[in-house]
């Protein structure tokens, strides 16, 4: 659906040439929710702006649905943009227009007749759950409601692709979740391909099928969300994954426990999909002569199944502990032993 090939973008700044995006190659499937995560300054905003040519690539191609976008200009480009909508972090609504009029805006641009427009606007208002607020001005809406208008506006011309530029970053956690649910709904109902950028792993976990991690303009790692969660290869990815699992200073606590029980082993277990739902711990207890002390655990849902993290203290004979670990590994559970002093 979307193919990015050898994509580069350089800016000439006073301090020299800045490589904002550096040789990015991504293939995004139709109907998929694809997330790009990175810290600010990683180049993800520039990257997503090249998907609708708001930024022109210095080199490389962007093709959407087989059409090479980077070659289009003027009228053709404007026409193509109607099929690639964008949702913004700061909503970017026209304050001078009501909710209805804001949603009608892209329809006006596309030259839709006024009766058609009215019908379509009513559908969209319903789709994003803004009934009763049609005639309000943006200044009278909450952040979440504003983003709903932004999403309705983006869907107005039945786009093939929806680009979300930090769409939830200006919202509180509860509103973020409701907007993410809405995006999943839209993805399922309309089969829409969604590309989003964010700095929050929570967003990736909750709605994305695949994820790419971006650092210094490059994609350093990409893959299915669960795979990346289970087996992060790069340090930055591990940082992001830990954003989810760690309630703050758990690492300190684990290190402390490892010291406290030199005869035992503190182990982090990562469960994915089916393994998250099997009674693994009781299996191990039954089969091996070890004691298991559960320190902390967490399970979260992703679009492709459950993802769990459990920290346990294993106590017993060294040999039994090793066997237990080997058993768990053979059952597709990620095992990470915290050093024992």
């Amino acid at each position: 659906m979307i193919t990015l090939k050898g994509l580069h973008k350089t800016f000439n700044a006073k301090s020299g040439v800045v490589k904002a995006v550096d040789d990015v190659n991504i293939e995004i499937e139709k109907g998929e929710i694809f997330g790009i995560i990175g810290y600010s300054g990683a180049g993800k905003s520039t990257l997503i702006r090249m998907l609708n040519l708001l930024e022109r690539p210095t080199d490389g191609t962007v093709s959407i649905d087989g059409m090479d976008l980077s070659r289009l200009k003027g009228k053709e480009l404007r026409k193509a943009r109607q099929e690639i909508s964008m949702v913004f972090q700061h909503f970017n609504l026209l304050w001078s227009r009501t909710v209805k009029e804001n949603i009608a805006f892209p329809l006006e641009i596309a030259g839709v007749s006024s009766t058609e427009r009215k019908k379509r606007v009513d559908e969209l208002v319903k789709l994003v759950g803004l009934e009763g607020r049609e005639n309000a001005y943006p200044s009278q809406l909450s952040g979440g409601q504003k983003q709903r208008v932004g999403i309705a506006r983006a869907l107005a011309n039945n786009p093939k692709v929806l680009l979300c530029d930090e769409a939830t970053s200006a919202l509180d956690p509860k509103t973020t979740d409701s907007i993410l649910d809405l995006l999943v709904d839209i993805n399922k109902q309309l089969g829409l391909t969604i590309v989003l950028i964010t700095h929050e792993m929570h967003v990736i976990r909750k709605i994305c099928h695949r994820v790419a991690v971006m650092e210094n303009g490059r994609i350093v790692e990409q893959g299915h969300v669960l795979e990346v969660f289970q087996n992060p290869k790069e340090d930055i990815t591990r940082d992001f994954v830990n954003q989810l699992a760690d309630p703050g200073d758990i690492h300190k606590t684990l290190d402390h426990l490892a010291e406290e029980y030199p005869e035992g082993k503190v182990v982090n277990l990562t469960f994915v999909q089916e393994s998250a739902e099997k009674p693994l711990i009781s299996d191990v207890l039954r089969k091996f002569a070890v004691d298991i002390n559960i320190l902390q655990g967490k399970i979260s849902q992703t679009q492709e199944g459950a993802y769990g993290k459990l920290s346990v203290l294993l106590q017993g004979e060294e040999k039994d502990i090793q066997e237990a670990i080997a058993y768990m590994e053979s059952h597709h559970v990620g095992v990470e032993v915290i050093q024992n002093a």
Binding site: N52, L54, K75, L77, R78, K79, A80, R81, Q82, I84, S85, M86, F88, H90, N92, L93, L94, W95, S96, R97, F105, P106, E108, I109, A110, Y137, P138, S139, R153, N157, L163
Partner: protein, 222 residues
């Protein structure tokens, strides 16, 4: 009563002068609004980093605006006499004042328009581009509506300046309240005429300000 307090005021002439002042103000405000928006848009759009970035055009318009904004109005009228005579075939009457009024006020207003346009959220312009809007649609569906309260409060200030310009134009023969106050009031030593003309001008200014404020407030939904 009126005759006792204002013995020298010819009310029919006063009314006629008021109508002339209103006429000059109205026409020049409308023309200034249109011309100022065009110049302001060009100033904004050709500025560095904007849609039609063009250093040469930007420099030419900016110089034109700065020059005509800086010339004192009374001198501008005199400088423009040949242009006015060529355009209006006359140097007298309300119509003859119009070219100078518009040339004097439009550059002043163009700067206000430029400032108002710069205040429009860049994100909203980006959003419209992402929807496939062309330049023309961005101008009349985004830039102008989003800056309308500032455009209206700007034209209110300009309109008030124009009222005082018409009084000056009156002195050099354009008619209106300024003309009346000068000829009938000052030169014939009839202070009551000057006083009444002043009060009427003040009333016009107050009413303009109130109208401007009400419109600005009703437009601003921020």
């Amino acid at each position: 009563m009126l005759e006792q307090w204002f013995p020298n005021v010819d009310w029919e002439k006063m009314w006629e002068a008021t109508v002339q002042t209103l006429y000059m103000t109205a026409i020049s405000v409308v023309a200034t609004f249109i011309l100022g928006i065009i110049l302001g848009l060009l100033l904004f759009l050709t500025a560095p980093g904007n849609r039609w970035e063009n250093k040469v055009i930007n420099f030419i318009i900016a110089s034109f605006v700065n020059v005509f904004r800086s010339i004192p109005f009374i001198i501008l009228i005199i400088l423009l006499i040949p242009f006015t005579v060529w355009l209006m075939k006359s140097m007298l009457g309300a119509n003859a004042a119009l070219p100078a009024l518009i040339v004097g006020a439009a550059p002043f207003y163009a700067r206000m328009v430029e400032i108002a346009l710069r205040e429009v959220d860049k994100g909203v312009i980006e959003a419209s581009q992402s929807m496939g809007a062309n330049d023309w649609e961005i101008i009349y569906k985004v830039l102008l509506p989003e800056s309308m309260p500032a455009l209206v409060s700007g034209i209110t200030v300009t309109a008030i300046a124009l009222v005082s310009y018409t009084a000056m134009a009156g002195v050099v023969g354009a008619g209106g309240l300024g003309n009346l106050a000068y000829l009938e009031g000052y030169q014939r030593s009839n202070p009551d005429v000057t006083l009444v003309a002043t009060v009427i001008i003040l009333l016009i200014v107050f009413i303009l300000q109130i109208i401007g404020d009400v419109i600005t407030r009703s437009l601003d939904k921020r």
